[in-house]
């Protein structure tokens, strides 16, 4: 195996995108929890976003493919559940990319009690606060549906988790 540092690995992981929201890398999403070299193998620890998220399997496959492409053959992907993934781990640049993509980024959650604070969601198109929730559940597990009452555009909100 080529001699490389952990930061080289992160550079490669930066190119692996969420298959459902391709503007976000898995680093933006905050699902990569650890990268470690172990003798002659490389261990990548990731955590699932939602328990039933069908993208997780594809993300694993894409991580392996991206690393293989750069010469890493002996890679283990370890899944951890604790601490559970939270949208607070989304990077600021990730949130910005979401907004540009037309998805309202999540509020900060901090505690489980504030998980459901989903008032005052800002329209990602016209920045209006005059928005209305259409449904708690959207086209993927991580999104809710909203509509802007000013520009009238419907939009997705990446809900707090």
């Amino acid at each position: 195996m080529v001699k490389v540092s952990v930061s080289n690995v992160y550079d490669i992981l930066k190119t692996v995108c969420d298959p459902e929201i391709p503007v976000l890398s898995i680093l933006d999403l905050g699902i990569v929890r650890d990268v470690k070299f172990n003798d002659d193998s490389l261990n990548i620890t990731i955590t699932p976003t939602y328990t039933g998220c069908p993208a997780m399997h594809m993300i694993e496959a894409n991580i392996l493919a991206a690393l293989k492409n750069e010469g890493f053959e002996n890679v283990n992907i370890i899944t951890t559940l604790s601490p559970p993934w939270t949208t607070d781990w989304l990077t600021d640049s990730g949130k910005q990319k979401l907004k540009e993509y037309g998805i309202a980024p999540p509020q900060t959650t901090k505690r489980i009690e504030t998980l459901l604070d989903d008032q005052d969601i800002i329209c990602p198109r016209c920045n209006s606060l005059n928005t209305n929730k259409l449904s708690d559940f959207g086209s993927t597990a991580c999104k809710a549906m909203y509509q802007c009452k000013d520009c009238l555009e419907p939009f997705d909100y990446f809900k707090c988790h």
Binding site: G52, P84, W85, I112, F137, M145
Partner: protein
């Protein structure tokens, strides 16, 4: 201890799996598109939780086979979900009544699961609690919307509650296995969960003018493998592929 763990974790897993299977039947049949998606999103979360638990069970008890074998090849009496989750979807109000009664239990159960000693079940519980929080809000809101909507929607919800009420309390009535699990710090004290859930249900239903039936007897049996007549049909559909093509992959 190992038999206790196997059966107790299966209870939690089977509740999630069978309700997920039931909700999946709504796919393409929801009353409006948004709610069709909500029902199937919740189904996905439930099946996701079931999967985590079946994977854990398979890891702890390798002789039981892999997650698919555990999920799809047991006979009816080896499923330990409560009777509530296997009840048919009926109309939208029936589904909402079933979902709310289950979510009100499931939310407080997962919260209480945070105090047990077993690290693995606690981790899965913490992960799923976030999802269940959304489910509970969704079904509570629909209870209000149907109860306070039109005369017809109110009546349909009242009928639904009347019909399903006899299944409402199995999940919050501790039996020998629940007590043993609690004594071994594997599971929460169901008596404690029960009082919170009963109060919450009574308060919500009362606040929107839905009358809770007066019967004080409740059906039970699912938790020990004695199921209602509906369960066989659920399994027939759910297990078809694995039975017809054993060990299939795709």
């Amino acid at each position: 201890m190992s038999d206790l763990k196997y059966k107790y974790f299966l209870r939690i897993a089977d509740n999630a799996m069978i309700l997920g299977q039931r909700l999946s039947e709504w796919c393409g049949h929801g009353p409006i598109l948004e709610q069709d998606m909500a029902l199937t999103n919740i189904a996905l979360d439930q099946i996701g939780e079931a999967r985590l638990l079946y994977q854990l069970i398979s890891e702890l008890f390798p002789e039981k086979g892999d997650e698919d074998k555990i999920a799809f090849t047991r006979d009816i009496s080896a499923y330990y979900n409560c009777l509530l989750v296997e009840q048919p979807n009926g109309n939208f109000a029936d589904t909402i009544a079933r979902q709310y009664l289950f979510d009100s239990f499931n939310f407080h159960f997962h919260q209480a699961l945070q105090n047990v000693d077993d690290q693995r079940i606690k981790e899965i519980g913490a992960k799923c609690l976030k999802e269940v929080t959304y489910h509970r809000r969704w079904s509570s809101e629909w209870i209000k919307r149907l109860a306070l909507g039109t005369e017809v929607s109110h009546q349909k919800l009242q009928d639904a509650i009347n019909k399903i009420w006899k299944y409402a309390n199995e999940c919050i009535t501790p039996d020998a296995l629940d007590n043993e699990a609690h004594a071994n710090c594997l599971g929460p004290d169901i008596n404690q969960v029960s009082s919170i859930v009963s109060e919450e249900r009574a308060q919500l239903l009362d606040s929107v003018g839905i009358t809770v039936p007066e019967n004080t007897w409740f059906l039970s049996g699912g938790k020990t493998g004695s199921h209602s007549e509906y369960m066989g049909y659920v399994l027939a559909e759910m297990q078809y592929m694995q039975r017809a093509y054993p060990d299939m992959q795709w």
